[in-house]
């Protein structure tokens, strides 16, 4: 497993840019996590949890109709079939189990659209942990159903009224709150961002995506994929998909949210358009202005709408090991529709970015015809149907 250095750096990225008050907790977490990784009992408990509760491993599915149209062989890693509907269950089960191991009784989490909040609330409930979720006030309004889900699961949802009142502010608030409660509270972060060891911890719990996929593909096709495609918000599902293939001769593609188009400035293509900086505790690519103030990101996909990105991705991009490209809202929605119409699968808009990217690689022949492409379908689309209705105008009369 590729590790950061001991202080959490991948090359120039990563590290710990947080108040000293949190360092002890980060150290504790780092040690607890490394020990847990090597503890067969912990690993067995986590595996059982994933299997019996999370519905893992997720199936590996050859999308024949889609493949035929695309001219490449597309395999979908069906994370949409996991409990709570996305790869996120992997991360929250791992961190929640680790929380108990550390003897803490409460978790806090930040959430944008609410997906990570719901996952965190789920894992917390399951483990008997208290749970508080910070969510931008703007987002609590836009995503009222996810707020209801979290409350139904027994979590407290705190609307964040500072800054732009969206995900990045929720994350600020979670960090602030963590400083005050760090002795009994774990910050159950939602992606591979934040200060060391979070990017490593989250990756380690998400890497089952790629580990499973690698074994499944070898089993079903006798070979490795030519390319792996995943969407990149914070980057947890992509790191989860990439990690198993880092040492293989497999191309890795991360697709960022291109929003209205890279050139319009309204996007969340952090690696493509951002510059190196420090945000939320790590050095990485950041959408920022000339002064280093964070710029608000834009994407039709709430889960990708974040102006930062996990530092390991920054490193993979800087070293050329993985390629990162923007996919526009329009491209993603077209791919979402295509998948629905060919395979009968309605995926999350986040995941549609990965698929759209893969289809583009096939179309422009970046991938040779017949290539085997693994696309990580990170989540299901139930949460996105309101957006789909608006986007396609399905509410305008009865005709299609």
């Amino acid at each position: 497993m590729p590790q950061p250095d001991l202080t959490g750096h991948w090359g120039e990225f990563g590290g710990r840019f947080v108040p000293e008050a949190l360092i002890a907790a980060l150290e504790e977490l780092d040690i607890a996590h490394r020990k847990a990784l090597e503890d067969p009992e912990f690993q067995a408990e986590l595996a059982a949890l994933g299997r019996d509760y999370g519905n893992l491993p997720s199936p590996m599915y050859r999308a024949d109709r889609l493949s035929e149209a695309a001219g490449v062989e597309i395999w979908l890693k069906r994370e949409d079939l996991n409990h709570t509907g996305a790869h996120k269950i992997r991360n929250v089960l791992g961190q929640a189990l680790l929380t108990k191991r550390m003897g803490k009784t409460r978790v806090i989490a930040e959430t944008g659209a609410g997906q990570h909040g719901v996952a965190a609330a789920t894992a917390a409930t399951y483990m008997g942990l208290e749970c508080t979720v910070y969510m931008g006030e703007e987002d609590t309004r836009r995503q009222a159903l996810n707020v209801a889900r979290m409350r139904l699961l027994g979590a407290e949802v705190v609307p964040v009224t500072t800054g732009s009142r969206t995900l990045k502010d929720a994350m600020n608030e979670a960090l602030r709150e963590w400083v005050a409660s760090v002795d009994h509270t774990h910050y159950l972060i939602g992606s591979v961002g934040g200060p060391h060891p979070f990017p490593m911890v989250v990756r380690d719990y998400c890497r089952g995506i790629g580990d499973e996929a690698r074994a499944q593909l070898l089993d079903k096709t006798g070979r490795l994929p030519d390319a792996v495609a995943a969407c990149v918000g914070g980057g947890s599902n992509a790191m989860g998909a990439f990690t198993a293939f880092l040492d293989d001769d497999v191309k890795l593609y991360g697709f960022e949210a291109g929003g209205d188009g890279y050139e319009t400035g309204r996007h969340a293509a952090t690696i493509t358009a951002g510059e190196i900086g420090v945000l939320h505790g790590a050095r990485t690519y950041v959408l920022q202005d000339e002064d280093g103030q964070t710029i608000e990101s834009h994407s039709i996909s709430a889960g990708l709408d974040y102006p930062g990105v996990g530092p390991e991705h920054a490193h993979l991009a800087a070293t050329g090991r993985a390629a990162y490209e923007p996919v526009t809202d329009a491209e993603a929605m077209a791919a979402l529709e295509k998948l629905a119409r060919t395979e009968g699968i309605i995926c999350a808009i986040e995941s549609a970015h990965a698929l759209a990217g893969a289809l583009r690689l096939a179309e422009d022949k970046t991938l040779e015809p017949g290539s085997l492409v693994l696309v990580n379908l990170s989540g299901r689309g139930d949460k996105d149907m309101g957006t789909v209705v608006d986007y396609f105008g399905f509410d305008k009369g009865n005709d299609q």
Binding site: V18, E20, A21, I23, A24, L175, R176, G292, Q293
Partner: protein
């Protein structure tokens, strides 16, 4: 003025220093200069100029709001040097800043411009010495103080290594919480100061949501500097009338200055 000079003076007077904090550009650029003047005139020994940042994870609601307002009004990093230049000379002027703004400006360039403006040093709430190689070099090159934080959760080992990297003073974040968080009688704060003293002779500043003279006096009984931020910012948050804010700030500073002299 160097930070050490201010502490030499307050030590000579057998009292703690009063450190006043205000974000540059708040309530306006000109009024932030005016406000700092008021603090200096009314007994502040050291000034912390905040550099407004979009994502201030160490700050509570009051300072967040002040920074937000400055940014909305168009505040730019380079303007902080105008403020520093305008107020420097009488007391040490430090900048309190989140790291991305410095790195983005260019660490060396920032140090140079800041030193040229007459600044004394930086307080860096989200930069720990482990990540500070560039800043250590730049601050040495430009002879600037560097104030890192210690916290109740810091191990003795970390306190030792942190204070070793400090110059000017050490910032004891004595409550586990953001700025403005208050704990009426903190046992954590004196304890942290005591633990820190075991590793350094540098003065130790304490921030603890101090709002009045009594609290300042209490903190002054074990700390070398009493750092006041949210209460100062509050003078301008509760009113739109800037002159009356100035008036309140003058009164508050006077009271706090009395507190550290009790």
């Amino acid at each position: 003025m160097r930070t050490a000079e201010a502490f030499a003076k307050t030590r000579a007077e057998g009292r703690a220093a009063l450190v006043g904090y205000l974000p540059a550009g708040f309530p306006t650029l000109a009024d932030s200069i005016k406000a700092i003047d008021i603090m200096i005139e009314n007994g502040a020994d050291i000034i912390e100029v905040g550099l407004p940042y979009s994502d201030p994870v160490m700050d509570g609601p009051a300072i967040q709001k002040a920074a937000d307002r400055a940014l909305h009004a168009g505040f730019r990093t380079s303007q902080v040097f105008e403020v520093v230049e305008a107020v420097s000379g009488r007391v040490p002027i430090l900048i309190m800043t989140y790291w991305n703004l410095v790195e983005r400006y260019g660490t060396g360039r920032f140090a140079a411009d800041f030193a040229a403006a007459g600044g004394a040093g930086l307080i860096t709430p989200d930069l720990i010495p482990d990540e500070a190689d560039e800043w250590l070099a730049a601050s040495d090159a430009h002879d600037l103080d560097r104030v890192f934080l210690v916290a109740p959760s810091s191990t003795d080992e970390r306190i030792a290594s942190t204070v070793a990297a400090c110059r000017g003073f050490v910032y004891a974040q004595s409550v586990m919480g953001v700025t403005g968080a208050r704990s009426a009688t903190s046992t954590a704060a004196p304890k942290l100061v005591e633990r820190t003293r075991a590793h350094t002779d540098l003065p130790i500043g304490v921030g603890l949501g101090v709002r009045d003279g009594d609290q300042a006096a209490e903190v002054a009984s074990y700390g070398d500097a009493v750092i006041v931020g949210s209460a100062i910012v509050g003078c301008y948050l509760e009113t739109d009338d800037v002159p009356s804010g100035h008036q309140r700030l003058a009164e508050l500073t006077t009271e706090l200055a009395g507190g550290v002299r009790r």
